[in-house]
C-alpha cells in the first residue's frame, strides 16, 4: 500500500453549561466547536448531550448543570484551540479534555450522529403526577393498579 495513513489522536472533552441555557444556544455552541475542529484539520465524531444533571457540588452557584460530551480526532494543537474557544463562552462553566487514543486512522474513523441522552433521574415529582404521565410506558411497580381502579 503506497498511500500513507493519516494518524491522528482521539480526544474527548466534557463541558458543562449553565442549566438554564436555551436549546438553540446549545446548538450554536455545538456548531461553533464543530467549526473549530474542522478548521484545525480534525473531525468531530459525535456530540452527546447528557442532559441536565445534578452536580456533586454547586457549580457557578447552581446545583445543576448541562453536561455536553464531545468526541473528536485531530492533531495535538487542536485541544488547545478547542479549550480556548470554550473559555471565551460565558455559559460554559467547566470543561475537561482527555486523550483517549494516540493512534487513530483519520479516514477510517466514521462520524456518528449526535446523541441526546435523557437523564435517568428527572426531578422527583409527586407520585400521582408521575403515574399519570408514565402509566403507559412503565407498566410495572404496581402503578397501573391505581389506574385501573
Amino acid at each position: 500500500m503506497a498511500e500513507t495513513k493519516k494518524i491522528v489522536r482521539e480526544y474527548e472533552t466534557i463541558y458543562l453549561l449553565k442549566a438554564e441555557t436555551p436549546d438553540d444556544q446549545v446548538e450554536e455552541i455545538k456548531e461553533r466547536l464543530r467549526g473549530v475542529v474542522s478548521r484545525e484539520g480534525g473531525k468531530v465524531i459525535r456530540f452527546t448531550n447528557q442532559g441536565k444533571r445534578k452536580t456533586a457540588f454547586p457549580v457557578a452557584r447552581n446545583a445543576k448543570a448541562l453536561y455536553m460530551h464531545c468526541l473528536y480526532i485531530g492533531k495535538p494543537g487542536l485541544v488547545h484551540e478547542f479549550e480556548r474557544n470554550l473559555k471565551m463562552l460565558d455559559v460554559v462553566t467547566k470543561f475537561q479534555s482527555v486523550k483517549l487514543s494516540d493512534e487513530v486512522d483519520f479516514d477510517a474513523r466514521q462520524v456518528e450522529p449526535d446523541v441526546k441522552i435523557q437523564p435517568a433521574e428527572e426531578e422527583p415529582k409527586p407520585r400521582e403526577e408521575r403515574g399519570e404521565f408514565a402509566s403507559g410506558e412503565e407498566p410495572f411497580e404496581g402503578e397501573p393498579a391505581e389506574g385501573v381502579e
Binding site: I14, L16, A56, F57, V59, A65, H69, K94, Q96
Partner: protein, 122 residues
Amino acid sequence: MARPDMGGPKMGGGFGGGYGGGFGGRSGGRDKDRDREREDRGGGEEGGRRGFGRRKVCRFCADKALKVDYKDQNQMKYFLTERGKIIPRRISGNCAKHQREVATAIKRGRMLAILPYTVGQM
C-alpha cells in the same frame, strides 16, 4: 458468635477488644480490616489471627470487559466512602494497576462535579 473461631489466646492484647466488638460501625470496621489484611498476606490462611480471610478479587481483572470510566457516576460511587474519600485498595480489593486507574478516574470525575470532593462539610 465469632469468638471460638478467633483463637482468643493467640490474639495480641491490643486488638482483642477490637475484634470482639464485631457490632461496631462500618467505619470502625475498616481500620480493623487493615490489620486483618496484613496478616493474610503474610501467613496464609492458618497463621492469621482470623481464619476466614476472604480473598478479594479485583473486579476489573475478573471482568475484562469492564473498563474504568470516570463518566460513569454509579460505577465510581462504589469506590468512594460516604464522605467522598477514595476507598483504599485493601478494602476495595482492586489490583494496583486498576486502583491507580480508579483513583485517576475519581479525580477526573471530581473536576467535572460528577463526584464530590467532600460530603457534608458546608
